[in-house]
């Protein structure tokens, strides 16, 4: 303590005590004196301490005690459940209210999991409680409980039933609420030891079984559980089941080798009728399965039979074999998507139309080469068959897919033949088409091969031959177009011809000629129906088939329809048929007895009218052009199995490629992208159809982008993004589809882009834009009204700067602006400030960027209402106004004026960099009020130099412009005054509440300053950091009548005073402010300037107060 002589006002002292020298203490510890701590003890100490602390923490929380917290939490959970229930009931199609009034509480581990059970409750109108409550819960669900827990449960359950999850599952399966008594846990407890062994047995199985069979094993497990619940299960049974299981597995692996993918693709370009007829049997099957209580039952029974089948069918396998080297799931085949579509019939049909349109581009315009000479000759013998009436011929190839293939196989003629991917006799591949001999055996399209074979053992299965189909379809249409100029293609093998105007009167003859020609050319037969409209022609074809033609004259329509079953009418499917059947309506004749009104009441406006019309043979559709497809996409729901996210991504990538190809093939681009996912229902097992999708939930997400695209990269990005929205386990995905809608023709969309886009405009400028994406967003903006006013400002280069400048300058002489035309951007001063102001801020900032940031400055400059006009500028402008005179006279002063104007405008550009007061004046030239507001602002010396007439003109103009608000009064220099006023105004900005600056900024005309004031008033709090924080979320517009420099200096002052205010007490606040300001600099030119100006001041005061510099972290 001897050194007290030190006279310095601040001294540093550090504590030294013999016992506790810091260095010695740390050395001690380094010497190993530190004790090893026992984590356990610490943990316990912590636990003991934390409890009271957390309890007292409630004091500050909104909840008074644990009870009220739980009440709120429960309420929230209920709300969430309700929300989820309402949303799921929207999406779910056929979910009923089986569990209405049932509220379950799931205790412990259950199969299925509590989340799945919750899903059921959601879907079927029940409730799910996360926390047990005797008042809200009606049933307790659990699978397995220890004895102690069962006792405990009874103690507090208050007699509530304790039920196994199977109760819920069975209820769902039975679609009604079953009695819970057989599912009581008591029973389970009685069987407890038996069951434990079984489940252990099965889990072992699961582990060993190959992955592909996992689902079916689970199913079997489920089934066993169900059986067990019925009290019938025995160990022997399980063993048997296990054996079946193994058989099943073997079978599966067999099938992997032998089966071909079948068609289940759905393309948006598809022809509806065909799709319906093809898919409906499958749909029906699916719905049947849904109704069955457990789909696995079917599969199990099937397995047990199959070994026999295998033997018996081996013999009958057909001669035509398929290449079986293709791999069948997304798991094993990296090019799955490609191969899938290669072998998809529906894909063929779907994409056929594009080929057709390319082939016959003119047909949609109704122009054809005309009817061939041969038939014009025959026109002389016109019959009276409907000369003024419409006549439509419907031509349909007979079992196209089969006949095309077998036309080169004479040995197959007359034998039952069907087309299918796979000829595996046990297979679940679907027959896509069967010839008439096969149909006699009851073989139908959509049937599984194994079913077809059981009906017709000698059935020959042939594979697709897409090349031949294509060729035949082309020949078919060639013939049709030769005979008729109005052809409406329905599908590759089906078309309508409007022959009303045909020179050849005898339509039946025409039809037979066409049919004969088709047979001769393609080797396949076609049937034709002739009637007055498309509906009747189509019905007639049905009668005509196979290989025939049928004519329904107008007079016979009623008779024909009278006995026709309603099912035969197009547009009447199973559902509608069923409904009609309930009303005892089976034929069109019966349908006719019902009034249109009641039909519309029962079936809806459109369907009702359709039924009414069709039952009377009325069809107003015209044979015409193909409708534009509304969407294009690709969907795969066969063979989709993913192991991990990478598989899924890979698959998506390929799907996108496919879709992009289709888009490009159709020459369209789309804006809306929908990703559809088929998700295996949680209770669904492995589908009956091999590698099929089974019982699935359909999920979809759509994204719409502003600019149409067909780019693979964009598609992939969007698809990935969409896929991310689903948050589902990739293992549950059974189908993926990508659909593109809001289509635009690629050509016109390109033109459209050109029209709306700022892009070409930008590309021609030397200014580089940083963000291509931002610009590509602009076309969207372009469609909005806000963009329209800009047409005056941002004229396209093609329309000429000159023109635009003339317009925006509103009658001003544009002679001198011509010098600016060298740059493609319209000169800054040619922009109409009023128009720019009304643009959306994003567009303004965009344009600003192109002008290298000068626009904002310009806008604020031109918006200035303080018109302190420099002599040169003032007189120039006034002369300009009467520009004709100036140029006309060509006087010295005129030339001088023009020149000075140039100087002035150049200075506008430079101004924000050079803060020379001399330049400040021209910069604030008002573009809105080009005339000086009063004669007082015109330099008299210049004015005197002007010719007499000119002076007169100016005075006249001034008189017009002179409004009270513009009168400044005196000759004194307004700008000088202004700065003086500002200087005094800028002190003590942070004094008062609200601080002085708020008011000041509010009345200022600078957009940015007003935003500051606004944010403050909207309750950002008194500190600057929170204000800046609020600004982060705002759009910062610059612009305003006050000069750029004005705003910057005000803001600078604001920050400077704030720093001075806070530097001694709250360096943290300053730090936060500076960090925020720094982040904001990227968004506002003003704030960048402010930031740059404030940093030296800040560091200086930091050094003064803390002896160091503030650390400013890099962004």
């Amino acid at each position: 303590m001897s050194s007290k002589s030190n006279s310095a006002s601040r001294s540093k002292r550090s504590l030294k005590s013999t016992s506790s020298n810091p260095s010695s203490s740390s050395n001690h510890s380094a010497d190993g004196k530190r004790k090893k701590t026992d984590q356990k003890t610490l943990g316990m100490a912590w636990g003991a301490n934390s409890r009271p602390s957390s309890r007292t923490a409630f004091r500050n929380s909104p909840f008074t005690d644990f009870g009220s917290y739980m009440a709120v939490k429960n309420q929230k959970l209920h709300e969430q459940f309700d929300a989820a229930a309402s949303s799921s009931s929207h999406s779910g199609s056929s979910s009923g209210n089986i569990f209405y009034g049932v509220s379950i509480f799931v205790d412990g581990y259950t199969v299925p999991s509590s989340q799945e059970l919750r899903g059921y409750m959601l879907k079927y109108g029940g409730r799910f409680e996360n926390y047990f409550s005797r008042h809200r819960v009606t049933h307790i669900i659990c699978s397995n409980l220890p004895d102690s827990k069962i006792k405990n449960l009874r103690a507090f359950s208050g007699g509530l039933p304790v039920v196994k999850p199977a109760w819920l599952l069975d209820s769902v399966a039975a679609n009604k609420l079953l009695s819970w008594t057989p599912y009581q846990l008591d029973q389970l407890a009685a069987e407890n030891c038996n069951q434990a062994k079984l489940s252990a047995f099965f889990t072992l199985q699961n582990n060993d079984a190959p992955e592909i069979a996992n689902n079916s094993v689970d199913d079997c497990d489920n089934q066993l559980l169900i059986k067990k619940d019925e009290g019938r299960v025995s160990l022997e049974q399980t063993e048997r089941c296990n054996r079946e299981q193994i058989d099943h597995l073997q079978l599966k692996t067999d099938r992997v080798m032998s089966e071909e993918p079948s068609c289940s693709v759905e393309s948006s370009c598809e022809v509806k009728g065909l799709e319906q007829s093809d898919c409906s049997p499958l749909d029906r099957k699916n719905s049947d399965l849904e109704n069955k209580s457990s789909p696995c039952k079917a599969s199990v029974s099937h397995c047990s039979n199959s070994p026999h089948n295998q033997n018996s069918c081996e013999a009958s396998s057909s001669r035509i074999c398929l290449p079986t080297n293709q791999r069948h799931s997304t798991l094993s085949d990296p090019n799955f998507v490609e191969n899938y579509f290669k072998s998809s019939r529906l894909h063929f049909i779907g994409t056929w139309r594009n080929r057709y349109r390319k082939r016959f581009p003119s047909l949609s315009n109704g122009i054809t080469s005309g009817v061939s000479g041969l038939y014009t000759a025959g026109s002389s013998h016109k019959t009276a068959v409907a000369n003024e009436k419409n006549v439509v011929i419907h031509i349909d190839m007979d079992c196209f897919f089969v006949s095309v293939v077998i036309r080169n196989h004479p040995e197959l003629q007359g034998k039952p033949v069907a087309v299918c991917h796979s000829d595996n006799p046990r297979g679940t591949a679907e027959i896509s088409s069967a010839n008439y001999p096969a149909r006699e055996y009851g073989v139908r399209a959509g049937m599984f091969v194994k079913d077809a074979k059981s009906r017709c053992p000698q059935l020959v299965i042939v594979p697709y031959d897409f090349g031949a189909y294509e060729m035949v379809a082309d020949q078919f249409y060639d013939i049709l177009h030769n005979h008729c100029n109005k052809v409406q293609a329905v599908s590759c093998d089906e078309a309508f011809l409007d022959v009303s105007e045909s020179e050849m009167g005898d339509h039946e003859l025409l039809a037979s000629i066409i049919r004969k020609e088709i047979l001769n050319t393609t080797g396949c037969t076609a049937s034709a129906g002739i009637a007055e409209n498309m509906l009747m022609a189509r019905l007639a074809t049905k009668t005509a088939k196979p290989d025939g033609q049928f004519y329904i004259p107008t007079g016979k329509v009623d008779d024909y329809l009278y006995t026709l079953p309603v099912k035969a009418l197009p547009g009447i499917g199973h559902v509608l048929e069923e409904k009609l059947k309930n009303k005892q309506i089976r034929t069109c004749g019966q349908l006719r007895s019902i009034t249109k009104e009641s039909l519309q009441k029962d079936f809806g406006m459109k369907t009702g009218e359709m039924l009414w019309n069709y039952s009377r043979g009325i069809d107003n559709r015209l044979v015409g052009v193909i409708q534009e497809s509304k969407s294009i996409g690709a969907e795969v729901n066969w063979g989709v199995r993913f192991n991990n996210a990478n598989d899924a991504q890979h698959f998506l990538k390929n799907l996108c490629k496919e879709v992009a190809l289709r888009l490009q093939g159709c020459g369209v681009q789309g804006r809306a992208f929908t990703l559809k996912i088929k998700k295996k229902k949680s209770d669904a097992g492995e589908p009956v159809k091999y590698m099929g999708c089974g019982d699935c939930e359909n999920l979809s997400h759509t994204i719409t982008i502003p600019m149409a695209t067909d780019d693979v990269g964009v598609l992939q990005r969007l698809a990935t993004q969409l896929f991310g929205h689903f948050h589902i386990d990739v293992g549950d995905i059974r189908g993926v589809g990508l659909q593109v809608s809001k289509l635009e023709g690629a050509d016109d969309s390109k033109c459209g882009n050109k029209r709306n886009s700022i892009l070409p405009w930008v590309s021609s400028t030397s200014v580089k834009d940083k963000n291509q994406n931002q610009i590509s967003d602009l076309p969207k903006l372009g469609e909005s009204d806000a963009w329209r006013p800009s047409s005056g400002v941002l004229r396209q280069p093609s329309s000429g700067i000159k023109e635009s400048s003339t317009e925006t300058r509103a009658g001003l002489s544009s002679s001198e602006t011509g010098t600016h035309n060298s740059s493609v951007l319209p000169p800054l001063q040619d922009l109409d400030v009023a128009v720019i102001e009304s643009l959306p801020p994003e567009v303004v900032s965009e344009i600003n960027e192109m002008y290298g940031g000068k626009l904002l400055g310009f806008i604020s400059a031109s918006k200035s209402k303080i018109i302190d006009i420099n002599t040169h500028a003032a007189s120039t402008k006034s002369c300009e106004d009467s520009g004709v005179a100036v140029e006309g006279t060509g006087s010295l002063s005129g030339a001088h004026l023009v020149e000075s104007n140039m100087v002035a405008t150049d200075k506008v550009m430079k101004w924000d960099k050079e803060e020379d007061p001399n330049y400040a004046a021209p910069a604030t030239l008002s573009r809105r009020h080009i005339m000086p507001s009063s004669l007082s602002q015109v330099d008299s010396s210049v004015f005197r130099e002007l010719p007499e007439e000119l002076r007169k003109d100016i005075i006249e103009h001034l008189a017009h412009h002179e409004g009270p608000e513009y009168v400044k009064g005196a000759f004194s220099d307004v700008s000088d005054k202004q700065t003086e006023v500002e200087a005094s105004d800028l002190s003590g900005l942070w004094i008062g509440n609200p601080p002085k600056w708020v008011k000041k900024f509010q009345i200022s005309n600078c957009g940015l300053l007003t935003i500051f004031a606004e944010v403050y008033q909207s309750g950002s709090g008194s500190c600057l950091s929170s204000l800046l924080q609020c600004l982060m979320s705002r759009i910062l517009t610059g612009g305003g009548a006050d000069g750029f420099g004005n705003a910057v200096s005000w803001l600078h002052e604001l920050f400077k005073q704030y720093i001075d205010l806070k530097i001694t007490t709250d360096v943290e606040e300053i730090y936060v402010c500076i960090c925020l300001l720094r982040r904001l600099t990227g968004r506002s030119e003003y704030l960048l300037q402010v930031y740059n100006a404030i940093i030296p001041h800040l560091q200086a005061s930091m050094g003064e107060n803390y002896g160091g510099t503030l650390c400013i972290p890099s962004l």
């Binding site: 504590l15 030294k16 510890s29 380094a30 602390s53 650390c1111």
Partner: protein, 205 residues
């Protein structure tokens, strides 16, 4: 004497401040990882988890050092208190500065709860702030508590004060880079914590 001090608002504040400093300094030392974590035990202070040195010498040092400031704090003689981490050469590696300011003219009764609430925010912020969570390199490093006086104490007002000796710690050649950690202003007390790091551009030594 002490009794009387404690009755004035300033005395009351000083007492709270000393307590706070003890906890905060321990936290800083703990967070910088100078000692193994086991050298500290968890305690509750102002409803927060804090750490207390288990080693008696370490605890003693911190406790005695900050309590020695009590008298000076009451008179508002202390400008700041720094926790300085030094390398083996005695050159500071990093400094954590508690800048203190007690309003001497404040006369009404201190709301201890309010004050504690404000000080709590420090203890919450400390474990989260970036400069503190950076663990020092595991070289042989030392640390000490250093107090900056506004003026030299006139005479030894208490025995505690005599334990403070002038520091001979080396200084950085360049002004430090300051990273604010937390500032608080709750009448009549103002406290700021910031980290000082050597200017990276400055030459070592």
């Amino acid at each position: 004497m002490e009794r009387k001090d404690n009755q004035t608002p300033q005395g009351e504040i000083a007492r709270i401040l000393v307590e706070f400093l003890e906890v905060a300094i321990t936290s800083v030392v703990f967070l910088k990882g100078v000692y193994p974590n086991g050298a500290f035990e968890r305690r509750r202070y102002m409803n927060l988890v804090v750490h207390k040195a288990r080693h008696p010498q370490l605890y003693e040092y911190i406790h005695v050092a900050v309590n020695g400031l009590l008298a000076f704090l009451t008179k508002d003689l202390i400008d700041r208190v720094a926790v300085v981490f030094l390398d083996d050469g005695g050159l500071p590696i990093e400094r954590f500065v508690f800048k203190l300011n007690v309003n001497q003219s404040y006369s009404s009764k201190v709301q201890q709860a309010d004050l504690e609430f404000s000080l709590r925010s420090f203890l919450i912020k400390l474990p989260l702030s970036e400069p503190l969570t950076k663990i020092l390199p595991p070289t042989d490093c030392r640390w000490e508590i250093m107090a900056y006086f506004r003026a030299l104490p006139q005479a030894s007002t208490s025995k505690d004060a005599e334990m403070w000796i002038p520091s001979d710690a080396k200084q950085w050649q360049q002004p430090a880079v300051i990273t604010p950690i937390k500032s608080m202003s709750s009448e009549p007390l103002r406290v700021q914590v910031y980290a000082e790091d050597p200017n990276p551009s400055a030459p070592k030594n």
